[in-house]
């Protein structure tokens, strides 16, 4: 395969656009044709056009360590990542199956606890979890749904199989960048869309709004008041909070705009107090109500948990939902799906060894050099060991940690994430990527067409986080036969 004068090679890797013989995959043929006709200078010109469109549109994100520089232009590579529609349909059904099962699981944990009594999931695992919140016991959110917005991270291994790497059930972010990536690519490359049937992504704000309305207390009637609750302008996802509030046409509020009186939530407006029915909260569980959780929280609203438990306000996601995105619980998701739905999982989990299980622990200790070891409760890649990239001393240190606190660790094989052609300097090179689709569940369930593709911009790196130099791509679900 040639892009411009240079040969593109992804030998030994699974590439999303190009097969192992160097030919374009059928769903990516026209896309590859389009870009392979471009000289390096033209590719760079297009990248500059994309970059300046992003600056002009004010698409930015925040890095905490940068002092008061609160904007960074969002990094977007010019080459879209494409997947065939038929493959996506399969992934979509798997994501729906997974979220439905996880919500049945959460609802069960805070009510009857059947799955624990039946010993499918060990009770001590739940009771020792930091994310199992006792104040949520006995709560009955509408439709039995707790995690209304889920961002699941998908990866494709070198064998071409797509796995779920983790489920984010607390406050997953990134959907605004998925939407803006498409807007930018449409502005800069209007002509390539003429040759492809790419599924649109822009119905997400309407779907989110409809979902949030569907979970409002029944007493709110036909026109519930929905708000987005943000920690404020210094939060790294503030861009997204304003984006979603604006595109849904609802108020963006901060904690100080809300108050609870007689277990009812109100916002302060120019007309006085106005009742609020659904809060899409983008602040963590333990900050939402200083009466119940962290008393030092300046972001929260005293009394919010009372109002929620009384059924006077809906919270998305419901507090306590995070219990199901613990990495040890993750390893039980196939069992959870089987238990509640009587089905096998449609998208496989990455094989996972639980260190709490002695046999698993022995395997991990013996093979630590080939494995990735992760703490159960951390996110963002903190406290992880990547066996093949670590020294012998680090292996020994982790062996000690595992023996001391086995419940807190899991281990997985080191995956070789799939790649896609990415503009690096003025050449196209393979770079590893993942995919975060967003699933919404209220009275209905829906999945974004594709999601946010994140790219590790450093050669060979598997780190896709934008805070650590990762980039992104527009994600195309292309109808088959195009």
């Amino acid at each position: 395969m040639k892009f411009g004068p240079k040969t593109y090679s992804a030998t030994g890797l699974y590439d999303e656009l190009v097969d192992s013989n160097g030919n374009a995959r059928p769903h990516a043929r026209r896309l590859v044709d389009y870009f392979s006709g471009m000289e390096p200078g033209e590719l760079l010109d297009r990248q500059h056009a994309v970059d300046s469109t992003i600056v002009d549109m004010g698409i930015c994100f925040t890095i905490y360590s940068e002092g008061d520089n609160i904007d960074r232009a969002w990094p977007l590579d010019i080459i879209p990542r494409a997947m065939p529609g038929s493959e996506w349909d399969h992934v979509e059904s798997g994501l729906k199956q997974r979220l439905i099962a996880l919500n049945l699981f959460i609802d069960d944990l805070y009510n009857e606890r059947r799955i624990l009594k039946d010993k499918v999931v060990p009770a001590e695992l739940i009771d020792s979890s930091r994310n199992y919140l006792a104040p949520c016991r006995g709560a009955k959110p509408r439709h039995g749904v707790w995690a209304h917005i889920c961002g699941s991270d998908l990866v494709r291994d070198h064998d071409g199989v797509i796995y779920v790497l983790e489920d984010n059930l607390r406050v997953p972010s990134g959907v605004s960048y998925m939407l803006e990536n498409r807007n930018v690519i449409k502005r800069v490359f209007p002509s390539i869309f003429r040759n492809h049937r790419v599924r649109p992504v822009n119905e997400y704000p309407s779907a989110l709004n409809a979902m949030l309305r569907s979970i409002a207390p029944e007493s709110a009637g036909d026109n519930p008041e929905v708000v987005v609750l943000t920690p404020g302008v210094y939060n790294s996802a503030y861009f997204e909070h304003t984006y979603l509030a604006r595109t849904m046409g609802v108020e963006l509020v901060e904690g100080s705009d809300l108050l609870v009186d007689d277990d009812v939530v109100y916002m302060r407006t120019i007309d006085g107090l106005k009742r609020v029915d659904t809060i899409y909260r983008r602040i963590d569980d333990t900050f939402i109500d200083p009466e119940v959780f962290r008393p030092d929280s300046m972001l929260g609203i005293p009394g919010l948990m009372r109002a929620w438990r009384a059924g006077n306000v809906a919270l998305a996601n419901a507090p306590g939902s995070g219990v199901a995105d613990d990495k040890v619980i993750y390893s039980y998701v196939p069992d959870i799906i089987r238990y509640y739905m009587g089905e096998d999982e449609i998208i496989p989990n990455v094989p996972t060894w639980r260190c709490s299980d002695t046999k698993h622990l022995d395997h991990v200790l013996a093979n630590i050099a080939d494995l990735v070891v992760k703490p159960a409760n951390e996110s963002g890649g903190y406290g992880m060991l990547v066996g093949p990239h670590a020294s012998k001393a680090e292996h020994d240190k982790f062996r000690e940690l595992l023996r001391a606190d086995p419940r807190n660790y899991i281990a997985q094989p080191t995956l070789s994430l799939s790649t896609a052609p990415t503009l690096c300097d003025d050449m196209l090179e393979p770079r590893h990527l993942d995919l975060r689709p967003f699933i919404l569940q209220g009275s209905q369930i829906s999945v974004t067409a594709g999601g946010l593709t994140r790219v590790a911009m450093v050669k060979g790196s598997l780190v896709v986080n934008s805070s650590q130099g990762g980039g992104s791509k527009d994600t195309w679900i292309v109808e088959d036969g195009d």
């Binding site: 002009d56 549109m57 004010g58 916002m267 302060r268 407006t269 006085g272």
Partner: protein
């Protein structure tokens, strides 16, 4: 509408207006000084007075120091860059209520201002850079007036814009009042140039010519800028627009009372024996009353209900 959101949008209106006025005043003043010989006694320092700043600048390179202070100094609360940045921050935090294009445009304006305003202190590109800033401010106001429904966010924007505009016009009149004191020979020779500049500082020259006396002379210009009800930058027109806007908001009576007080500050028609000192005194009272109206806006809508 949230009280906090209303407050931010009100400041969007104020800062955007302040930015446009600052750019226009500096641009027109720069043009004026090209036409005046030094003995007229009008220099860069009078420009700083318009902004209510009491500060001395390095005499050797006064033009440059003053222009940096008024244009590109990000730490000076009187600078154009500061106003643009404050408008941008308030639009950033109000993106859920304002048109998306407004955010894109203020962002472009800010990037432009950051890159170019330093150069504008030098002189050569000043006219062009400031024209660009004025044009971009007008574009954003055009987006607001062309695409926003006339609901509460729009009303707060309009309130902020008109209170700011009335205040700025009154400051220009205040400084211009000094021209009435100039010695007769200079007034005869340069009076028309000076008063034309005053009108151009508020984009009022053409409208004055079309609807008022063909003669450009002091008292008539001041009367036009204070009492004309049709010219949108005249104090009376701004106060009237603010009053009309207030009637669409809840709990508007205190502001309407306060604005009526502003409108009655200066008698119409102007007293026949008006001199520069008297005009200056009227303007002080006018500015104080406009400040009181601002406080009424804050008390009526922005302070959180208990």
């Amino acid at each position: 509408m949230l009280s906090r959101a209303a407050e931010r949008i009100y400041w969007v209106g104020r800062y955007l207006e302040r930015a446009e006025n600052t750019a226009r005043i500096v641009q027109q003043y720069s043009q004026l000084l090209l036409d005046l010989p030094p003995e007229v006694g009008v220099g860069w320092h009078e420009l700083v007075e318009i902004f209510g700043v009491d500060r001395t600048f390095d005499a050797r390179d006064q033009e440059r120091a003053i222009l940096e202070f008024l244009l590109s100094d990000a730490d000076s609360g009187s600078s154009l860059l500061y106003s643009i940045n404050m408008a941008r921050e308030n639009i950033r935090n109000s993106r859920d209520l304002l048109p998306q294009e407004a955010w894109e445009n203020i962002n472009e304006l800010y990037q432009h201002a950051r890159r170019s305003l330093e150069r504008a202190a030098d002189g050569e590109s000043r006219f062009e850079v400031l024209s660009d800033c004025i044009g971009r401010c007008q574009q954003i106001n055009g987006i607001f007036s062309g695409t926003m429904s006339h609901t509460s966010p729009y009303h707060f924007l309009t309130l902020g814009q008109n209170l700011e505009r009335a205040d700025m016009t009154s400051r220009i009149i205040d400084v211009a009042a000094a021209y009435l004191q100039q010695n007769e020979r200079l007034v005869l020779r340069y009076g028309s140039t000076l008063w034309t500049n005053v009108l151009k500082s508020v984009s009022g020259f053409q409208m004055y010519r079309q609807y008022c006396q063909p003669q450009v002379e002091g008292i008539a210009v001041i009367s036009f800028l204070l009492h004309d009800r049709q010219f949108p930058r005249a104090v009376s027109a701004c106060v009237e627009t603010a009053k009309q806007t207030a009637t669409a908001l809840p709990k508007c009576e205190p502001l309407i009372r306060s604005l009526s007080g502003v409108a009655e500050t200066v008698p119409s028609p102007l007293p026949g024996d008006l001199d520069g000192a008297a005009v200056s005194d009227f303007m002080d009272v006018l500015q104080k009353r406009l400040g009181d109206s601002h406080v009424v806006v804050v008390d009526s809508w922005f302070l959180p209900a208990a």
